[in-house]
């Protein structure tokens, strides 16, 4: 029976080949799934680098602060998963500044004391940044804010007189400044919205007062009239007195320099006083919480914010999808894309330093990371990310949003190319 013997041999060979193929296939697919399941802490061997986050994680502004924290966390997880820096595992440590300069300064001191911290993302508020800059700079610890817009933070206090001087080499930001945001808003309000008489209100804080000033300056240059100015106390929510003043001023628009916890009730109370005119603000009011606080009468209110709408950017598609799948409870809000890019800028700087030092962190890693930040350049969520000689973002886009149908809707975008 030689034929039968041959058949058995053939059958055995077929089984062996099938088994080998199946085993090989299963091995390959197992390899593939391992990549998919890789968590943020993969690469446990090697060095841990901490990226600090300082933002208001509690209180009125926590919606923005938590969006910042989550977005930086996503950047670190992505870098760990993709092993962006060989031998380095990134870890995020977030501290709550409650939007208070004194808390921010304490947090800065804590970050400086932790030798594993090689970069910090934050803060949200320009006034908080002022209290942190020197602490970080003395320690050569790099700081990247996704949200600070006050021009003086990068260009010095005499920026408006044409004497720009960078006060701290360790401070960078991915958001554009109020030197552009205020005039951008004024141009839109005067030329597009055709409003000629403005009542300007601010909260007396670094961000709010600074933004109101740059808006006012440009609005007047365009030929607009400032029919009244007033400051509010951000610790109260009763703005009935100023609302009455707005009504009697004959203004056809209100500009508010400040943030949404006050802007929302202010808008509502101005309308309730009988002045059916839009309230316009900056990125500090561009939050879903403003719409909740201002109520139905806030329809038609306007806000400018830094950058193009994240949802419109092809470069942000992956960020939006990954943020969603990461399961964060809070929305990424106005600064999510900028926060991710701020975190990623630190990661890129660490990568450069490690690569230049034979794959290891040097002893003076903080100083080297700060140096490397100046030359960081990559395609981020919000577009090309790099910094100019002042530490300001080179990508300077802005968008006007209007409250329509209970949501913010982009109505005009602009790019500064000067």
């Amino acid at each position: 029976m030689p034929g039968k013997g041959l058949l058995i041999v053939r059958q055995r060979s077929l089984i062996a080949i099938t088994a080998a193929l199946a085993a090989g296939a299963l091995t390959l697919t197992a390899c593939g799934s391992r990549d998919d399941d890789g968590g943020s802490d993969s690469g446990s061997e090697g060095t841990t680098v901490v990226i600090g986050v300082d933002a208001p994680l509690t209180g009125d502004l926590s919606a923005l602060g938590l969006g910042i924290k989550n977005s930086v966390d996503l950047a670190a997880k992505t870098a760990n998963k993709e092993k962006t820096v060989e031998g380095i595992t990134f870890k995020v440590e977030a501290l709550d500044d409650q939007a208070q300069p004194s808390s921010g300064q304490q947090n800065a001191t804590k970050f400086v004391a932790d030798k594993d911290v090689l970069g910090v993302v934050g803060p949200l508020n320009s006034s908080v940044a002022e209290s942190m800059q020197k602490v970080f700079d003395d320690a050569k610890l790099t700081e990247v804010s996704p949200a600070n817009t006050n021009p003086a933070l990068t260009q010095g206090t005499k920026w408006n007189g044409g004497e720009k001087a960078r006060p701290y080499k360790s401070y960078f930001r991915t958001a554009t400044t109020d030197a552009i945001q205020g005039p951008f808003a004024a141009q839109y309000v005067f030329n597009d919205a055709k409003k000629k008489k403005v009542y300007v209100i601010d909260d007396k804080k670094t961000y709010g007062a600074g933004l109101a000033a740059t808006f006012t300056d440009e609005f007047k240059k365009l030929g607009g009239k400032v029919v009244g100015t007033q400051h509010i106390d951000p610790d109260t929510k009763d703005f009935s007195a100023v609302a009455t003043q707005v009504k009697s001023s004959g203004a056809d628009v209100v500009y508010y320099g400040g943030e949404y916890p006050q802007a929302g009730p202010l808008s509502k109370q101005i309308k309730a006083a009988g002045a059916k005119i839009p309230l316009v603000g900056g990125d500090g009011i561009y939050s879903a919480d403003f719409i909740k606080l201002s109520g139905a009468s806030g329809t038609g209110d306007l806000a400018t914010s830094v950058g193009a709408p994240v949802e419109d950017l092809p470069s942000a598609k992956e960020f939006v999808a990954n943020y969603k799948s990461a399961g964060y409870k809070e929305a990424y809000e106005a600064y999510g894309g900028y926060s991710y890019d701020s975190g990623w800028a630190i990661i890129e700087a660490v990568k450069k330093v490690v690569e230049d030092n034979d794959g290891k962190l040097p002893d003076d890693a903080r100083a080297k990371v700060t140096e490397a930040m100046q030359n960081v350049s990559f395609d981020g969520v919000t577009g090309k990310v790099s910094f100019d000689e002042f530490g300001d973002a080179t990508n300077k886009q802005l968008t006007v949003y209007s409250v329509e149908g209970g949501d913010w809707k982009a109505v005009k975008s602009g790019t500064y190319t000067g």
Binding site: T29, N191, A209, G210, A213, K220, L222, S413, T415, G418
Partner: protein, 199 residues
């Protein structure tokens, strides 16, 4: 023996088929899914407009007009067509060479010469800090209006040109307004600047 051999053959064949089916099914189910292609970017995301500087007046343009050049460069993505170039001030009109619509070539810097004519001095910006140039753009994704803020050098040249064209009228207008007390409200600009950095 014959029966056992036949039986074993069937079992082995069935087992092999089952392994193949299972392996194939698993591989099919876990095959890498092709990523959907990235959407085409909005035209403003790939178009750069930069101020080059003042140009000599074009033949036939009225006295007092402001002629300048910008460089328009398109980056990645499909072709961007510039449908319209405009400016937001009602006292000015604008023409350009080449005249829109025109298509941009990827990576190539197109020089566009723009001329602004004053039609009504009262409705021009006296000294705009960051004046816009508005463009309407089109690619396969969208038709989009976008403002380009050309910066301080453009603002300076623009303001100077307006001063030459409307100097007397603008000065007298400002005097009339001041006399009427229209701008009598406190000077918010100077007031705020003093404490910009004091939280």
């Amino acid at each position: 023996m014959e029966f056992c051999a036949r039986h074993r053959r069937a079992v082995l064949a069935s087992a092999a088929a089952a392994v193949l089916c299972a392996g194939g099914g698993y591989l099919f189910a876990t095959r890498p899914h092709a990523e959907p292609p990235n959407p085409v970017p909005y035209p403003s995301q790939v178009l750069d407009v930069r101020y080059l500087g003042e140009e000599g007046p074009r033949t036939g343009t009225p006295e007092g007009s402001f002629t300048f050049a910008v460089r328009v460069t398109a980056g990645s993505g499909p072709t961007v067509t510039v449908l319209r170039i405009s400016q937001p001030y009602s006292g000015l009109s604008l023409t350009s060479v080449p005249k829109p619509p025109f298509r941009t070539k990827k990576g190539f810097g197109h020089k566009i010469v723009v001329t602004m004519n004053v039609t009504e001095c009262a409705n021009t910006p006296r000294n705009a800090g960051l004046p816009f140039l508005d463009v309407t753009l089109r690619n396969t994704r969208a038709i989009e209006d976008h403002s380009y803020i050309l910066g301080e050098r453009y603002a300076h040249d623009f303001a100077e040109a307006l001063q030459v064209a409307c100097g007397n009228e603008l000065s007298s207008l400002a005097k009339q307004e001041n006399a009427a007390g229209i701008t009598a409200a406190r000077s918010a600009g100077s007031h705020y600047v003093d404490r910009t950095n004091r939280p």
